[in-house]
């Protein structure tokens, strides 16, 4: 038995995207490529992997789709002729792999603003990343039925409401591109900051977010914000292996083993960051913050002035209570912990943070560093009572104990 996983990962998205353009229908595309992969498993085990596996997959998938059109009585006569003619005209003379534009088209369709965020994410993971419904359900901690329903509903909306399979016209790009970036970032964040459940990190989603970010940079070379997003994900991801200890508890940044940060990812992230200069969105300042941490020789030698300036910039371009709360922690390191607590007070009562443990965690950390251990223990306990993943809770429990609570 040969291992098709690598080929599958590389070829699934482009093949589905090519078939979607050719047939104009996501279901037809998905089913046909699925069948082609099943066929590949049989044929390649027998004959070996062809020179251009992508082209092989697309050709076989197209033939399967044609078989299906012929079988379905509804698509006889003129409509069938139109589909095949159109398809042949488009496919002819085309080097089928890699079908770059098709993947970009799919990214914009899956992240269409008329689809809610959860649907965009599920659709992207299914149609572009090639995760199966059970795999997506496991990764997102949802039931298979819920994920399956969400994907079916989204595909039905794309068909019924006629959401176009295209890269939007130039005048719509400034408005639509952030949705694609946001969707890719959510693939990464779902993996990197899982908000619930036993595992702190879902490696598959982190890898896929980074991969999609890199792919988007290639597809939209002029987008500085895409570069900034790719930089942000690479720089965060460089710390992935040091974020959790053997017991499964989260390890805070200042206790992570910097020697084990992934130097390759940091270098790639910094290169992306240089290419991102001039980006206007919120990813650039976040990437600058991540880069400041990634390049600091030690926690003590971190450039807090630079980090505070980046938070100030972030609040200008993409204000959020979460950004202001995190800025307060950075202010604490730049100007002293009392100043940090004062900055935190300014945002602490924001109702949008009421269900998050962010404010309580940051307040506890500032109090602990200021030597006010009893108060710190109290706030760590409050943070524990709010939402959080198991690894985050394990970390907070450790802190409560350290503070004598």
């Amino acid at each position: 038995m040969i291992n098709l996983d690598g080929v599958f990962r590389r070829e699934w998205g482009p093949a589905v995207a090519a078939l979607a353009r050719w047939s104009g229908d996501l279901d037809v595309a998905e089913d046909a490529v699925q069948e082609a992969f099943a066929e590949a498993l049989r044929a390649w085990t027998r004959d070996g992997v062809p020179d251009r596996p992508g082209g092989w997959i697309v050709t076989v998938a197209r033939n399967r789709a044609l078989d299906r059109f012929r079988r379905e009585s509804a698509r006889t006569g003129k409509e069938f002729a139109a589909v095949t003619e159109r398809g042949d005209a488009r496919m002819e003379g085309e080097d089928v792999h890699p079908v770059r534009d098709d993947v970009l088209r799919m990214m914009f369709t899956c992240a269409h603003p008329a689809l809610d965020g959860a649907s965009q994410l599920a659709l992207t993971l299914r149609l572009i990343s090639g995760l199966t419904v059970p795999e997506i359900a496991r990764a997102l901690l949802q039931s298979e039925a819920a994920v399956g329903q969400r994907i079916t509903r989204a595909k039905n909306k794309i068909r019924s409401a006629n959401i176009p399979l295209r890269v939007p016209p130039v005048e719509l790009l400034p408005e639509r591109t952030p949705h694609v970036l946001g969707c890719i970032y959510s693939v990464f964040t779902e993996g990197y900051w899982s908000t619930a459940g036993p595992s702190a990190i879902r490696d598959e989603l982190c890898d896929e977010g980074v991969r999609l970010g890199g792919e988007l940079c290639g597809l939209m070379p002029d987008s500085r914000d895409a570069q900034a997003l790719a930089a942000l994900m690479l720089l965060h991801d460089s710390r992935r292996s040091t974020r959790v200890d053997e017991s499964g508890a989260l390890v805070p940044l200042d206790e992570q083993d910097r020697g084990h940060w992934d130097g390759g990812r940091i270098a790639r992230g910094l290169a992306r960051l240089r290419a991102a200069e001039g980006a206007t969105g919120g990813y650039l300042p976040q990437a600058v913050i991540a880069a400041a941490h990634a390049t600091a020789p030690s926690w003590a030698d971190t450039d807090w002035a630079l980090i505070c300036a980046a938070y100030d910039r972030l609040i200008v371009v993409a204000d959020s209570p979460m950004a202001r709360a995190n800025r307060a922690l950075a202010v604490g390191f730049r100007d002293g912990f009392e100043a940090g607590l004062a900055a935190l007070d300014e945002v602490a009562d924001d109702p949008r943070l009421a269900r998050s443990n962010t404010v309580a965690s940051i307040r506890a950390d500032l109090l602990r560093r200021a030597g006010r251990r009893q108060e710190a223990a109290e706030w760590y306990r409050r943070a524990l009572a709010l939402n959080g993943s198991e690894p985050a809770k394990a970390f907070l429990l450790r802190r409560v104990a350290e503070c004598g609570g």
Binding site: H112, P113, A114, L115, D116, S119, R153, N156, K157, S160, A161, N162, I163, P164, P168, L172, E175
Partner: protein, 233 residues
Amino acid sequence: MHYFALLLSPETDGPVDPEAQSAEMAAYQAFHAAAASAIRGGDALLPTATGARITGGPDSPSVTDGPFAESAEVAGGYYVFEAENLDGALELARQIPAAKYGGVEVWPMADAATPVPLEGANWLALLLEPPDRPVTPGSEQWQQGVARHVEFGKAAGEHIRGGAGLHPPSTATTVRVRDGKATFTDGPYVEGAEVANGYYVLSASDRDEAVKIASMIPATSVELRQLAGISGL
């Protein structure tokens, strides 16, 4: 492809500033001029106080007079657009003045409505169904419904000036514009409320006749609202 756009906003009672009102009219006229090639119909609706809600279907219709207190936002107008795809329809919807203070629901239509010029008094009949029981176009249930609508069509005859079935609520998109920025929401304006799955435009000599015709419509409930007759579309 045809799209049905339902304009939703808080209903204002009490005196309206005449200056604001004429500015609003001018904004709509500007929209009509800009979107003329895509607009296939539409009008403002008279206040809900003059409308009626009919429940129970043709067999046992029960009529409630407006206003209907339960929702903060009410339908204030509608358009039928013809657009190449949803992007085209959303571009039109965001230009509607009501999107700036309320919201516009954009529903893909299951079939294209042939525009008929309107004369005299006309009513919009919105066919409402519970959101958990949407009928998918093309399904068997839909086909049965179609047969009943054909019957209604025979009975109502020339009173029907337009109408179409809508795709299920999961295919709708709500457009709001705030501070010049458009946001899109997946689904209808209000979650969980009764949702439209079709509409008719009915002509009638007076309200009583309109209620009588609308009572024959095969739907769980019908919201009947008189067209203001001011759009000139």
